[in-house]
Subunit: 353 residues, 2 copies
């Protein structure tokens, strides 16, 4: 079953494109779009994929109910399943758009079956009518499978958003998460729990920018449960007056597990706060955990160096902010890469003033 | 007023000496010893010092009451004041010994007046009768003054101990804290809050060793409140079956403030936990905060290297553990240095088996 309600206005197409959702489906393997409380689009362009509303999937796959606390008639969101032994060429795109409603509550489930490989782009966006967005997501990455998840938020200042992601990384499986939060909304709270099996890998990259009146809470916890599990967290946070509380934890519980956290913060203005709290929990004598962090101002030395090359102060600051954010998010499709770069350019200029 | 009750047994002298308290007063500027609920010794050997029971001091200095939540007749502990412009040559020693009682609750206050300099050795020890020890301490370090505090715990496995230290570091003042916790007791909880004024400095060093059935909670918070305030935290934690929760936070709130945290942990055995959580809070754009941490096992490479030099595995491990703990605590008087070294030697051997 494919649902395809044409997204009505050009304006909306542009809004969706800002979070990686291409209404043309160009270079996408599948699309799932929720506008307010309706599935506005559902399209499956690859026969190695199953894409359906989650409300239908719970009938077909009753085990799903174990993972969904509030199984109601109103269960809104996708179920995506990548069939075994299938490498999906183009990304699947999902979009969640609050056009008129004040509230949106989404439940999503993705299952990457053994030996599959997929990239999921998930974009959230709202008009200024929105007030609250809740996203509850489950990702099951089976043996030898690989999921790259690129999540983009583009919230107006009025929005409060909560997201809760639960990820199970199977034996020898890979999870790569890219989070781009450059327009965070009033309050942005995310909670990520990852359980990693034998020789599984998780890589978490995030770039966030909080301006005046934005408050951000990130709370990530990764469990290296079994032998050889590995995790790498790299977060870059800029506060230009916003309040950022970033808590990252890696727990080493299996033999020869390895984890590293790098959290860097740049505070552009005294009204802001960056609270960086990377935690390491060693529960096995054969685990190897480390982290490093630096939170502070724009380096005077870098600034003076650039200015000595004839660059004016504002441009020098823009360059430093840009450098701080760039190259942290990898493997984006070209179109998305471009729109992230534009966003970085814009806020770098804004931050430098 | 000097109180001097002879410490009765040679055995007790030895116990006290293990936490830096020399009953002979050799190379000490003053002594204050509490045994159970009595002041067993109070001796002032330097006229630039004031030493008295805190219960007396609250009459002489009524402002003290603002800092003591439970001012009762039973207020037990010292008041020490270092007069202005006085550099005290030998350390002052304080000892808290639970010989027969199950419980000891101590309140202490030290004031280092402007331009003074002093080293305080504080030792806590108990017989196997003890159950609970509570220490609540206030240190006021005035303008240009300097306090070095060396705190040593030697608890039997039955003890639960709580300590709460409140430190005010004035303009251009220095606070150096050395904590040696190599025999931690059943549960050891410490809470340290430091507020630092203009150009003030705090340096916190700790070495702790938690064996089976020991649980350790460290919670340090340092506020760099004013321009030029600096803090440096270096903690080394070994778990040989014990549970260690180490939370260190530096909050940068003033211009040109600078803080660094380094937390390293060594987990020798899978029953143990090391939870390391160094937090940075940037609340001023001119603050510069950083940390690094590594928690894990004994490095295989180091071990193989030492063994290739003909050292057997157990001795190689002893050397690595010793290296991890040594040289972190500086400026100890010779006698104390020796007793800390002996302790490190003993637990390194224990840990290597």
């Amino acid at each position: 079953m494919n649902i395809s309600v044409k997204v009505k206005k050009m304006e909306n197409e542009k809004i969706l494109s800002s979070v990686g959702f291409e209404c043309s489906d160009n270079k996408r393997s599948g699309s799932f779009l929720v506008v307010d409380e309706d599935i506005a689009k559902m399209k499956n362009l690859n026969k190695k994929l199953e894409i359906m509303p989650l409300s239908e999937a719970v009938e077909k796959y009753p085990w799903l109910k174990n993972h969904l606390k509030s199984v109601s008639k109103n269960l809104l969101g996708y179920f995506i399943r990548v069939l075994p032994d299938s490498e999906i060429d183009y990304p699947i795109q999902t979009g969640f758009y609050m056009e008129k409603n004040k509230q949106q509550i989404i439940h999503n489930v993705l299952v990457a079956e053994p030996n599959s490989k997929v990239h999921l782009i998930s974009g959230c966006v709202s008009s200024v009518n929105g007030e609250k967005h809740v996203g509850i997501n489950h990702y099951f990455i089976k043996k030898n499978a690989s999921l790259t998840l690129t999540k983009i938020h583009n919230w107006p200042d009025v929005i409060t958003s909560f997201s809760k992601d639960n990820v199970v990384v199977g034996e020898n499986a890979t999870f790569i998460s890219n989070y781009v939060g450059l327009t965070l909304g009033k309050k942005n709270k995310s909670n990520l729990v990852i359980n990693i099996g034998k020789n599984g890998v998780a890589v978490i990259n995030s770039i966030v920018y909080a301006k005046e009146n934005n408050t951000l809470y990130i709370n990530d916890k990764i469990f290296l449960n079994e032998e050889g599990a590995r995790a790498d967290i790299l977060s870059r946070t800029i506060s230009n007056g916003g309040k950022c509380f970033v808590k990252e934890c890696i727990s080493g519980r299996g033999k020869n597990t390895k984890g590293h956290i790098e959290c860097d913060g740049l505070l552009l203005n005294n009204n802001g706060i960056i609270y960086s709290m990377p935690a390491l929990e060693a529960m096995h004598s054969q685990t190897d955990l480390s982290h490093e962090a630096a939170v502070g101002k724009i380096s005077e030395e870098e600034l003076i160096y650039l200015m000595s090359k004839g660059i004016d102060e504002e441009s020098a600051k823009t360059l430093i902010i840009q450098g701080f954010l760039e190259n942290k998010i990898q493997d984006l499709p070209m179109d998305l890469q471009k729109s992230v770069e534009n966003l970085i350019q814009r806020i770098s200029t804004e931050g430098a003033i």
